[in-house]
């Protein structure tokens, strides 16, 4: 009982840690978007097209070597963009598809994926790793890993604001782009508000709270945050109105498509098409 109480009482601290972690998250800091690498120098619209094509190729591939090739291509892009490879590989494989790893393990065995036995771990009850099981797990891991790599690479090399605005190349309406930009901006403010709420509580609390109390407190801070969000949305609306907003979203960008953008888009498209053809 005491043990579980401790676990419960940790919820606030864990939330605090996560909230802080996300504030300090290195993607938020956009360190790598300012390096003079290849992808950093491209028009974000070109990058969106490139990465969509590559993601599609990864998604469509029915061949493991092709998937591996696409993954290696992502490493090449990372290298050209001065993203430290160690960091990149670690970030993708150590953390992102961690969950996928757990999911892939049962697929190795005959009770999920029947096939030729490769390795008999246990005979009674029968626990056998099959060839097709290995293939299945490899498909899942490689596909998830390659997809996540591409996604991370796009985000690592593109400032957030540019990425959101570049969505217009996919015909995303301006009103959504305006809303997205505003969401992104206020997430940070609300995270800080939440962080302050947790810190204020932490500084006051001496003993540990019971589960119900803690739950009520979490709910109260959610409710408090909701109220704050509402008030903010009202004030922000006034601030927009004051500067001439008349209900029509206008978003401007200063992107310019250059030959280099065309070239790299063409390269990525070519890689994707070849991969789709080879991996069909």
């Amino acid at each position: 009982m005491a043990k579980s109480n401790n676990a419960i009482a940790g919820a606030v601290e864990r939330t605090l840690a996560e909230v802080t972690a996300s504030i300090e998250n290195n993607i938020f800091a956009e360190e790598m978007t300012h390096k003079p690498g290849m992808l950093q120098g491209l028009d974000p619209r070109a990058k969106i097209l490139m990465f969509l094509a590559l993601l599609l190729a990864i998604s469509l591939s029915r061949s493991l070597p092709v998937l591996l090739g696409l993954y290696i291509f992502s490493l090449l892009l990372a290298w050209l963009s001065q993203v430290p490879l160690g960091f990149f590989i670690k970030r993708v494989w150590l953390f992102m598809p961690f969950f996928t790893g757990i999911i892939a393990i049962p697929a190795l065995f005959s009770f999920i994926t029947p096939g030729n036995p490769l390795l008999v771990l246990w005979s009674n009850p029968l626990l056998v790793i099959t060839d097709r099981g290995v293939m299945t797990a490899a498909f899942l891991l490689l596909r998830v890993g390659a997809s996540v790599s591409m996604g991370i690479l796009l985000v690592l090399t593109t400032p957030w604001n540019a990425l959101l605005k570049a969505l217009s190349v996919l015909r995303v309406p301006k009103v959504f782009i305006l809303t997205l930009g505003m969401t992104y901006r206020y997430i940070y403010l609300l995270l800080h508000t939440a962080n302050d709420m947790f810190l204020a509580r932490k500084s006051r609390i001496v003993g540990r709270m019971d589960s119900a109390g803690e739950r009520r407190w979490i709910a109260a801070s959610m409710g408090g945050l909701l109220s704050r969000s509402f008030d903010l949305s009202n004030d922000v609306y006034l601030a927009m109105l004051s500067r001439g907003y008349r209900g029509e979203a206008r978003v401007a960008h200063t992107f310019a498509f250059t030959t280099r953008d065309w070239l790299w888009t063409a390269v990525a498209l070519a890689v994707a098409v070849v991969a789709i053809y080879l991996g069909r």
């Binding site: 400032p159 959101l164 992104y184 901006r185 403010l189 006034l238 601030a239 500067r243 001439g244």
Partner: protein, 279 residues
């Protein structure tokens, strides 16, 4: 100043406003604002000065009484008219007290470009205006930064730049010096004086007696009943201690010094305190 009658920009007559029907924010407020003047609206927190600025900016509307802008009564219908709103929003601008409210865009550039974009200016003109506003405030280096990563002083500068790109004639500033470090404060005062010299009208809501002399010629004092208590020059208002204490703008407190002499002084936040010996 030239002897000519100055144009009256705002005529505020017996304005009543409340946010929730129960608590009044403005309780029959009347005043006039003239072109090219520097006016401070002095009042304690919650006295209604912030609300008055929002009414003058056409964000809220008087529930009783009226506000006339250059002779035209401000109403919600009028502000919904495209051509009136266009001219009004361009001329009158409000710098909010909380920069986090005013800075709602994902980057500084977008923030400063927001207002020119609403004017349907050509992309090149928008770019030029943003560059002019950022350059004018010496914050060109902040161009691509995210507003939430800026310091308080930088935020205030960006908030001002976001309005400056409209090239407004009338500035409504809500507690502009609140929460700023001394360097940012003195920058802000210089900026206000510069705008005024350029012929802009400056209306500042504040409870900061320290800066009054630098930003205003005329002062209107709100009391805690949400009404105008007094009007006058800066010198007149600052010398009326009773008024300031009555309106919760200065306080009187007693000091028990080591020598057992009790001092009472009014905090006017002006550096020098007037000490009164109480025997």
């Amino acid at each position: 100043m030239t002897g000519m009658q100055r144009e009256t920009l705002f005529e505020i007559e017996q304005v009543v406003f409340s946010y929730d029907q129960k608590n009044l924010a403005l309780n029959g407020v009347s005043l006039e604002i003239f072109a090219g003047e520097r006016l401070a609206i002095l009042g304690s927190n919650g006295s209604g000065k912030s609300t008055l600025l929002k009414l003058m900016d056409g964000l809220y509307f008087a529930q009783q009484g009226e506000i006339r802008y250059r002779g035209t009564r401000l109403t919600s219908e009028l502000l919904n008219q495209e051509n009136f709103a266009f001219g009004f929003r361009r001329a009158v601008s409000l710098v909010f007290q909380d920069s986090d409210v005013q800075l709602f865009s994902p980057s500084v550039w977008d923030e400063v470009a927001f207002a020119p974009l609403q004017l349907d200016l050509a992309p090149a003109e928008v770019e030029a205006r943003v560059a002019e506003a950022l350059g004018g405030l010496n914050i060109t280096t902040l161009r691509d930064r995210a507003p939430h990563r800026l310091s308080g002083g930088e935020k205030k500068k960006v908030a001002i730049a976001s309005v400056l790109s409209l090239r407004p004639e009338i500035w409504l500033l809500d507690e502009p010096t609140a929460g700023l470090d001394p360097r940012s404060q003195s920058w802000l005062i210089d900026f206000i004086q510069e705008r005024w010299r350029q012929g802009n009208t400056i209306v500042t809501a504040t409870h900061d007696l320290d800066v009054l002399d630098d930003i205003a010629d005329r002062v209107i004092v709100f009391n805690e009943m949400h009404r105008v208590e007094a009007m006058g020059t800066v010198a007149e208002i600052l010398s009326d201690e009773e008024l300031l204490v009555r309106c919760n703008l200065a306080h009187r407190h007693r000091h028990y010094h080591f020598d057992d002499v009790v001092h009472e002084h009014h905090h006017l936040h002006q550096g020098e305190h007037q000490h009164t010996h109480l025997e």
